[in-house]
């Protein structure tokens, strides 16, 4: 296994925001001491609603990703394993449920006054216990089951609210991305449930919901998203000023950071940096010779590793399904005066919530827009939601656009599934194939 170097990757750093995400989590860990109610949730970004309700929120997947990115996931995964979760289970779920087990143990020890073995300083055990759960999980069926199990790990003592998000299978002839009867019906169905969620939160908090705050939150999120999308669009240029790894690094911000001026400023700074690089011919990868698309969920254990490895091979990974087809990606849908429908629609637009017909459209569209030479598919061992359509997408890209693909093995939060040699050899082979194709043109 050859370790990547630091030489060619040129990641975007926003100096004023380097601690933004860390500060968020540190603040959340003290929620109980500050007398705040805490909601645990997974999947859809319903946090603007929580924020408007005066709650503090913990996105389970985000915490699992953070642990994995910092290589601190082992205690949670071990706790999950000891509890009985098999290693082939979604590692996001396994890690977060392990955190739930640790949090519950810590709470029990606190209540009993017993000094136990759980190390309070371990990041995995620091999550504040939930006051209630909200599940609003699109696409993957495991997501809804996972929160149900969290509810049972806590002995069914903590209330839970479910928002059901229909899958968009493209049943009908008029079905397509953002259009058709199926889309309209599903949008209304989810919007209705969001109103019910708000009623639930009013019961949980004992206070009326602050609709003005929600409208304001969504104004900030809409603007932040617009800036993010504008910055992404600048990367159609070759060489690209920013890479997929930069957009991965800002997922936390767009996904669950509090809505507000700071969030908008962050993405304004990101866009400004990208524009500056474009204007001054500063590339995201120092010798961009290949432009690739990354399909699949992120391998959080290998964030820095992968970004440097591709850069070493003169590859700019320009865009991907997880970054470009998720996270408030259609801000024009948000009506800031009446945001519920636009929010509902975004939750339906989770990148695993579409049948392969829509996914082919999105992938091939992005490959054309960004001038892609090849697709890298991350076959994440325990994330079947993302890997399901990958073989069909690969065939479609080859057939429709003549774009080659490669698959490498890894996982979202379990480092044991990553196979570096497979990535190296297949990447080299694909790049050679691209060279040969270019030589014939």
């Amino acid at each position: 296994m050859s370790a990547p170097t630091l030489g060619k990757s040129n990641k975007i750093v926003i100096p004023t925001a380097t601690n933004m995400v860390g500060d968020y989590w540190e603040n959340l860990f003290t929620a109980k001491e500050r007398g705040k109610q805490v909601v645990w949730y997974n999947g859809s970004a319903v946090n603007p609603v929580f924020q408007a309700a005066g709650l503090e929120w913990c996105h389970g997947e985000a915490f699992s990703a953070r642990l994995a990115a910092q290589q601190l996931e082992k205690p949670a995964q071990l706790a999950g394993e000891e509890y009985g979760y098999i290693g082939e289970l979604c590692s996001y779920a396994r890690t977060h449920l392990g955190c739930a087990v640790l949090t519950k143990q810590a709470r029990s020890e606190d209540e009993n006054g017993i000094v136990g073995l759980v190390d309070q300083q371990q990041l995995a055990s620091r999550l504040p216990a939930p006051d209630f759960f909200v599940n609003a999980y699109a696409g993957c069926s495991t997501g809804q089951q996972w929160d149900e199990i969290s509810y049972r790990v806590f002995g069914k003592q903590v209330p839970i609210f479910n928002v059901s998000l229909p899958f968009l299978p493209s049943n009908k002839p008029d079905a397509g991305y953002l259009r058709g009867e199926e889309w309209e019906q599903a949008s209304r169905y989810v919007a209705d449930q969001l109103h019910k969620l708000i009623a639930f939160l009013e019961t949980m908090t004992g206070r009326p919901f602050d609709w003005d705050a929600l409208r304001q939150n969504m104004s900030y999120i809409k603007r932040a998203s617009e800036l993010r999308r504008e910055a992404m669009a600048l990367c159609r240029a070759a060489p690209t000023p920013a890479t997929y790894w930069d957009w991965i690094a800002s997922i936390a911000h767009i996904n669950f950071m509090p809505a507000g001026p700071e969030l908008v400023q962050y993405f304004a700074d990101v866009k400004a940096e990208v524009q500056y690089r474009l204007d001054h011919a500063i590339p995201g990868v120092r010798n961009e010779r290949y432009r690739l698309y990354f399909d699949g969920i992120m391998n959080w254990n290998k964030l820095g590793w992968l970004s440097r490895k591709f850069a070493d091979a003169d590859v700019a990974v320009v865009c991907g399904r997880y970054t470009h087809n998720a996270f408030w990606q259609e801000p024009h849908l948000i009506d800031t005066e009446d945001p519920i429908l636009g929010m509902a629609q975004h939750y339906l637009l989770c990148p695993t919530n579409h049948g392969v017909k829509t996914l082919k459209h999105l992938t091939n569209r992005d490959c054309v827009d960004y001038g892609i030479d090849g697709i890298v598919f991350h076959a994440s061992r325990t994330c079947r939601a993302f890997t399901n359509p990958q073989h069909l997408l690969a065939k479609s890209a080859q057939k429709e656009l003549g774009i080659p693909s490669m698959f490498f093995e890894g996982d979202v939060a379990d480092a044991s599934f990553y196979k570096d040699e497979i990535l190296e050899s297949r990447l080299a082979a694909m790049l050679e194939g691209i060279d040969v194709r270019r030589s014939r043109v």
Binding site: Y83, G84, Y85, I86, E88, L89, C90, A93, N135, G139, C140, S141, T142, Q144, Q145, W146, E148, I149, Y151, R152, K156, I160, N162, S164, P166, F167, P169, N171, Y189, D192, Q193, K196, T352, G355, V356, K357, A379, R381, T382, R384, A385, T387, N388, P389, Q390, H391, L392
Partner: protein, 387 residues
């Protein structure tokens, strides 16, 4: 001359072993359409009322080849096998495919079916998995109405209320006939092995229901009560969507165990709940979707007040089972998620438990034998120590 029992079992076994042969023959005989249905909650009664043959697509015994290049190798064996069947033309006998369950792995397989059977209708009407919400029933009822509308288009004829009520009655009759056999087993009748019971259920998922019910009557008419011997009584749990391999069931009973109850999909789960008499058949179909999960909780559904772990313990006490063998299809996420709760509940009651993971690609029978025998010995030792 084979007995009536033997002939009936042979007929049902033939359908269970080779569904496509049965379906092809049925189509030739009737001139009507066959609908491929994916497990576990599609309302087949509606399809029957439309005059088509609804067939729950079964895992077949073929090695997965092309399917391995269509879905990840870490998808469950059933979904990879479905993808393989679609890609290699083994689903060509069906005229369309309908589906109701939100299982992400199954949706991946169904996308492959859409690609490879692109000239046939493939319809997914998602029945919401979250069942404790006030809006669950209206949503499910709405989906039943959608299914009726789509099935009418598929079959080219309307489905009347009377048609549907008649189909519900036919299906309920079939379930009752099988349920009687399962109840007899629970009460101590060892006339049929667990592999034979699986044939009854699996063939019901495939065959014309009235034909199947007649065969069931022939089987039950030929059966005499056979008391159990002193084999260790076990409950088989889990294994969703597809059937455990018959040789696994035979091996379990060859190791000194006897299956006295189960909550397998190809078992009690399939026959547990009748739709019943109704003035509004679509409402009855929606209602049974919710009631069935209360009767036998499924981890693929989210229903806060339905506890599969408590159900399992209660079932063990009711049947007198001395241990539980959990059959888990490898990579089945809902099962992997719920398993620790089952384990916790059974351990709290000191009920011996064995987990066996199954795969499409074959089972390590020798090591499974060792493990089942160890479970049996453990239970026997416990029996002796309490004497």
């Amino acid at each position: 001359m084979p007995s009536t029992f033997t002939q009936a079992m042979l007929t049902m076994s033939a359908a269970a072993d080779s569904p496509t042969d049965y379906v092809a023959q049925w189509k030739r005989t009737t001139g009507r359409k066959a609908l491929g249905v994916f497990p576990m909650n599609f309302p087949s009664e509606l399809a029957h009322a439309a005059g088509v043959l609804p067939v729950i697509i079964q895992e077949d015994r073929e090695p997965i080849t092309v399917g391995r290049n269509l879905l990840g190798e870490f998808n469950c064996g059933y979904t990879r096998n479905v993808a393989d069947q679609a890609a290699l033309g083994r689903l060509d006998v069906y005229d369309g495919f309908f589906h109701a369950d939100h299982c992400i792995q199954l949706l991946g397989a169904i996308d492959v079916v859409r690609e490879d059977e692109s000239d046939k209708p493939v319809y997914f009407g998602q029945l919401m998995s979250s069942m404790s919400d006030d809006w669950a029933f209206p949503q499910v009822l709405g989906k039943m109405e959608d299914f009726r509308s789509e099935l009418e288009k598929f079959a080219g004829r309307p489905i009347s209320t009377a048609d549907l009520a008649r189909s519900i009655d036919i299906f309920d009759t079939n379930r009752r006939l099988m349920r009687t056999i399962f109840e007899n087993r629970r009460s101590g009748d060892a006339a049929l092995t667990s592999a034979q019971l699986q044939v009854l259920v699996k063939s019901s998922m495939i065959m014309d229901k009235e034909e199947h019910s007649e065969l069931l009557r022939q089987v039950t008419a030929s059966l005499n009560f056979v008391p159990r011997n002193d084999r260790i009584r076990v409950h088989l749990s889990g294994h969703f969507c597809h059937a455990p391999k018959p040789e696994l069931l035979e091996l379990i009973e060859d190791c000194g165990a006897i299956v006295v109850d189960d909550d397998l999909f190809h078992g009690t789960r399939y026959v547990s709940t009748d739709i019943g008499e109704t003035g509004h058949p679509l409402e009855a179909l929606a209602s049974v979707y919710l009631r069935r999960n209360t009767a036998i909780p499924c981890p693929t559904r989210v229903q806060h007040e339905a506890d599969w772990d408590r159900f399992l313990v209660d079932s063990v006490y009711a049947s007198g089972a001395q241990g539980v063998i959990v059959l888990m299809a490898k990579f089945c996420e809902p099962h992997m998620l719920f398993y620790p709760e089952l384990r916790k509940a059974l351990e709290a009651k000191s009920i011996p438990l064995l987990l066996i993971e199954t795969e499409h690609e074959g089972l390590p029978m020798e090591s499974i034998r060792t493990r089942v025998e160890a479970l049996v010995e453990r239970i026997r030792r416990k029996q002796l120590s309490t004497v």
